[in-house]
């Protein structure tokens, strides 16, 4: 297994393979995420409907895959192995508050952590293995071992793996790697 790319998004900064790509004094994810989306020159209207966790994963995956030649890649061979600490709690709190009025299906649909996996699959046409783990802290060895198992067993040739956290207070950290 080989790590071919890594992206880290936290506190208003984006690093790719350790080098600064983008930063903003505005750390709040909603406005930071939108600025990053525009900076990347993406046109994908659904982005604006996504939860913060899904937006974070979406942006990280876009950066991760940007330089990767994915044409000719079997979409069934791309796997996603993610983990975080707060599951979808950031969205859960927003949905719970919406119950005072009328429950919103558009909010409820994002109250599962694995929805971000679905969003990335839809965007890229991926149809490989996908799993979301919940851990107190990023257990990189566990996540990478799982990715390695998928790759070495031949079930996957490319794996997006790592940490995707959006906590209840809106603090965020994406640390995703592209593995082959």
């Amino acid at each position: 297994m080989e790590l071919i790319n890594n992206v880290r998004i936290a506190g208003g900064q984006v690093h790719v393979r350790g080098e600064a790509l983008f930063s903003l004094a505005e750390k709040d994810f909603r406005s930071f995420g939108r600025s990053l989306y525009k900076y990347l020159g993406i046109s994908y209207a659904k982005f604006y409907k996504m939860s913060a966790l899904s937006q974070l994963g979406f942006l990280a995956s876009e950066i991760l895959l940007k330089d990767h030649e994915s044409s000719g890649l079997d979409p069934g061979e791309v796997s996603l192995v993610f983990a975080n600490s707060s599951s979808s709690l950031h969205s859960d709190v927003i949905y719970q508050e919406s119950l005072e009025n009328k429950p919103s299906p558009a909010l409820f649909v994002y109250t599962l952590p694995n929805i971000v996996i679905g969003e990335i699959c839809i965007r890229n046409g991926f149809r490989g293995e996908g799993v979301f783990f919940i851990q107190e802290n990023f257990d990189k060895e566990f996540i990478f071992d799982h990715a390695e198992e998928l790759i070495s067993s031949g079930r996957s040739t490319l794996c997006l793996a790592g940490w995707l956290e959006m906590d209840m207070e809106g603090d965020y950290l994406a640390d995703l790697s592209l593995l082959i």
């Binding site: 069934g76 719970q96 409820f108 599962l112 149809r127």
Partner: protein, 358 residues
């Protein structure tokens, strides 16, 4: 439905469902058919096993999970204190009801890993628990993670626990999707109009040592599709193009969309003739517990040469042929394909085999 495997299996084989009209307005603004756990009885049972521990230190979710693991351990040689024993928790929402009423617990208890740790600590399990949260395929996915952790070495015993409870949070969400039935759900039926929600805690113990059932293979595919493409890929990957399973335990939620999609995938996989059931008419849709509950009940029934009926089914209401029945079927089939699909386009399949002497 029951407090152990035998009681649950008896209920199923006698055709008794756990779904009843609930008029608890803290759960739903209107009467709703749901399968709830008996919380008075559950509290008593928890008191009976918690020893010196203060039951007030455990949430409803954790109590249900602990009782299930306790029951599973009674029938197993697994030692939870073994350094190679790990708890794998499958859940979609854990303690989410604490958002509505904290009951004296701090916000940290909302974290799924925290609940898993509380349950693991109760049994003295030394390894950090693993939590899988993949919507409604979590239970099948968790068993496959357990299988992998055993085959790749770090784990001798994997205690795989699936738990989900109902709360205003979950019920209101499914209501907002208009996906709940007004009656007990009717999987694959022409009159089906939605799912029924249920509460459950279920536990299987996977072991490196040979047991009564082997988990042969499985797959967990992400890829949203209306034509069942993801589920078909999960089935094909699990079967490896060789084995035709003798029985299928379907997801069969009884929503118009799920059952239709499932029938397409089963048809495309060439499994139209394989006897199939859905157990949602008994237990309701138990979310993160569903894959584990349904695997256990079907495998235990198979040990008696039985395959449970699909409660609520009467007339086929999907466009592709599937072999579903509202009667218990008999025979000695030894392989079971468990399938599940969930929000976010996740699909999972697992192939089990009964070993001859079980």
């Amino acid at each position: 439905m029951g407090w152990d495997t035998r009681e649950n299996l008896d209920s199923v084989l006698q055709g008794r469902g756990g779904i009843a009209i609930c008029n608890d307005r803290s759960l739903s603004p209107e009467d709703l058919p749901v399968a709830l756990l008996d919380w008075d009885e559950l509290g008593k049972r928890f008191l009976g096993i918690c020893g010196k521990e203060n039951p007030k230190h455990y949430t409803r979710f954790e109590k249900a999970g602990i009782l299930s693991v306790y029951e599973a351990l009674k029938n197993s040689s697994a030692d939870p204190a073994d350094p190679e024993c790990t708890l794998i928790l499958s859940t979609t929402k854990g303690n989410v009801e604490l958002l509505d009423h904290p009951d004296g617990f701090d916000k940290g208890r909302l974290h799924l890993w925290k609940s898993a740790q509380v349950i693991a600590d109760f049994f003295g399990i030394k390894n950090t628990p693993v939590v899988v949260s993949n919507a409604c395929v979590s239970g099948v996915a968790a068993m496959l993670i357990g299988r992998q952790m055993i085959s790749s070495g770090p784990c001798k015993y994997a205690i795989v626990l699936g738990v989900d409870l109902l709360s205003r949070f979950i019920v209101s969400g499914f209501q907002s999707f208009l996906s709940l039935s007004k009656q007990a759900c009717r999987p694959f039926d022409s009159e089906r109009d939605g799912l029924s929600l249920g509460e459950a805690a279920a536990c299987v113990i996977l072991s490196r040592l040979s047991g009564g059932v082997e988990l042969l293979s499985g797959s967990n595919i992400s890829g949203p599709s209306r034509t069942g493409e993801g589920l078909l890929l999960a089935i094909r990957s699990t079967l490896g193009g060789q084995e035709i399973p003798k029985l299928i335990s379907a997801h069969g939620t009884a929503t118009p969309y799920n059952d239709e999609m499932e029938s397409i995938a089963i048809n495309r996989a060439g499994l139209s003739e394989v006897p199939l059931n859905s157990l949602k008419g008994y237990f309701g849709h138990t979310l993160g517990a569903a894959g584990i509950v349904e695997s256990i009940i079907n495998l235990e029934a198979m040990k008696q040469g039985l395959f449970p009926a699909t409660r609520g089914f009467s007339t086929l209401g999907v466009s592709r042929k599937i072999n579903v029945s509202n009667e218990t079927r008999t025979g000695n089939p030894d392989t079971l394909l468990k399938i599940a699909s969930g929000f976010g386009g996740c699909n999972a399949a697992a192939l089990f085999k009964l070993l001859p002497w079980s």
